[in-house]
Symmetry: none
Subunit: 192 residues, 4 copies
């Protein structure tokens, strides 16, 4: 009960302020529990943060998995993965930022390792989908699937970030089209 409330509040607060500016006081207040209750449910700030990030990764992976099905053509599956991540980066911009980026700053090393592990798992998940695409249809280029997953995530986040501060200039459809194009065909017509 309290744990739920705390996790929700912590997600909000970490998203808004980032790890370091977020204070346990603020989280307790927003969760409407006493500060001690935070420490009754989580060992400390960094562990609470880890729980938030973990829930975030699990959520995006769960949502993506649910929407996929082997019945779909690989091409469609990848489009859906992209769309899910776009949703995440657009709807929960700040949350996505902490989940994908705040992982590197000044967090206790032991927790940091676990966070990196979570990120690795997420990338593996994406890479797995890409690898399938390579095996099956021969649709995909023969690039390293892990690098491809990593590069795609960074590309998506950066692009969404830019989009969000220039919303008047693009529509959501523009964004999707751009992303699909870049992923699919790259920037150049030909470089040879």
């Amino acid at each position: 009960m309290s744990k739920e409330k705390i996790l929700h509040a912590a997600t909000r607060v970490f998203s808004e302020y980032g790890y370091h500016r977020a204070s346990m006081d603020e989280i307790a207040q927003q969760a409407q529990v006493a500060k001690g209750t935070l420490y009754y449910n989580f060992p400390g700030k960094s562990q609470l943060f880890k729980a938030v990030v973990k829930a975030g990764f699990e959520d995006i992976m769960e949502r993506t998995k649910t929407d996929l099905s082997s019945a779909l053509p690989i091409k469609e599956q990848i489009l859906r993965v992209l769309r899910h991540h776009l949703d995440l980066f657009l709807d929960s911009r700040h949350f996505a930022h902490i989940v994908f980026n705040e992982i590197s700053n000044g967090i206790e090393p032991d927790v940091l390792d676990e966070l990196k592990q979570l990120r690795r798992e997420h990338l593996s998940f994406l890479a797995g989908i890409l690898r399938e695409a390579q095996c099956e249809g021969g649709i995909m280029r023969d690039v390293d699937a892990d690098l491809a997953a990593a590069s795609t995530i960074g590309m998506l986040e950066s692009t969404c970030n830019y989009y969000l501060s220039h919303q008047e200039e693009y529509s959501r459809e523009d964004l999707e089209n751009f992303v699909f194009t870049v992923v699919a065909e790259g920037l150049f017509k030909s470089l040879d």
Copy 2:
């Protein structure tokens, strides 16, 4: 004199610890000046950080510009831009991280705006080069140059990051080839 030393030390310290974990004490110590001297030369921590980031952006832009010349074919110019940014992300990993990412966390809003402006200028610079490529040769796809610049930066950083924690699996050449392929041709052979 002092200003130089402080700027160098601040770059080192911010790179190592990130904005929030970096302390003015540590910076003063590494710069071998008294703490008061920091405040004599810079109004405060966030302003000092801004100066560091600004110098960072200027450096990468300067280095890139120097290496370009209208004599070169556009294609080659873009390769060089990519290579310069790869260098930055690989050699000064942490520095690049704060320059490109720490900009969004929990920094005082007034300074944050100026930092965002700096990032915008850098993206404009890159977008400018891409736009040239579009005008001139018809080599490039007709995607939005600004989005393309933003997406490329994100892709580069994320890819380098992954590469740096998996160096045993890839060579630097692998990395370059991958990046060039992705930028040039995207991930798919065809999606239609």
Copy 3:
């Protein structure tokens, strides 16, 4: 049932950490009861501590009494008292320390008074034995029995403490001989 378990665990925990560093959490855990059970059986931490100290005093007094008997020559009785206290200070070093010394630190005043009373009773018990020695045989010097009891306890504890951190240099027998000599004859051959 629970009370017993708690008392045992509390003794262990107080002995290991001292009064202030010992936590009710730790005690509950070691006693394998819920924290609430502690408060069901004892009014609070200081009262629990008092119970532990009381049991400690009673134990050493009981053990000593059991081993004495009016049949024994006074001299032998005193040797036995010394030996019992040596055993206590050596075998249950930390426990003895809290029983005899932690009594004065920063404990709630109300409980502190009761603890001091317990110590007083123990000293009275020892002084009683000494007084007997004085009456009966004329073996003992005509010093104040209460002061003598107090001084002896302090001497024993301090000596055992030193011994315990220099065990490689002395045998247990050395220690006993030293203590008996000091008690019996003092440090000097003659001071007149």
Copy 4:
């Protein structure tokens, strides 16, 4: 300047409350400096405590040394040492208690080691004087000088403690006589 004030205040506060109940807030208040000033001058609570204890040991040793001189007969020297320690235990009861006893509780292990070292040095100092007495005059029994020093300190403190809570029953002279007797001749007329 501040350092002095802090050290004085800390001595007062630690003496009154013991290590754990003493709070940095209270010390800062009594020293009339801001809390930050405490940490500017001392790395932390335990280090501040160490400084207090160190000053205490140095003070008693200094005062004792000053009063001794090789011209005096050994017997007189030892009487003076005893008197100085009596003064300390009587005049600065609480301070002496923390200096000699609080050394064992729940202090950070690294600092604890240094504190133990200080105590060791003090005992060595006392043992040195005793050893002289053994060499020179043959006045002293052939007991281990280190054990003798340790036992004497414990005896003194314990006796003073008892005296202080029963002042109506003894005079200071009674106390001195008792202590001298015990040290000199022990408790028994003869035990053989």
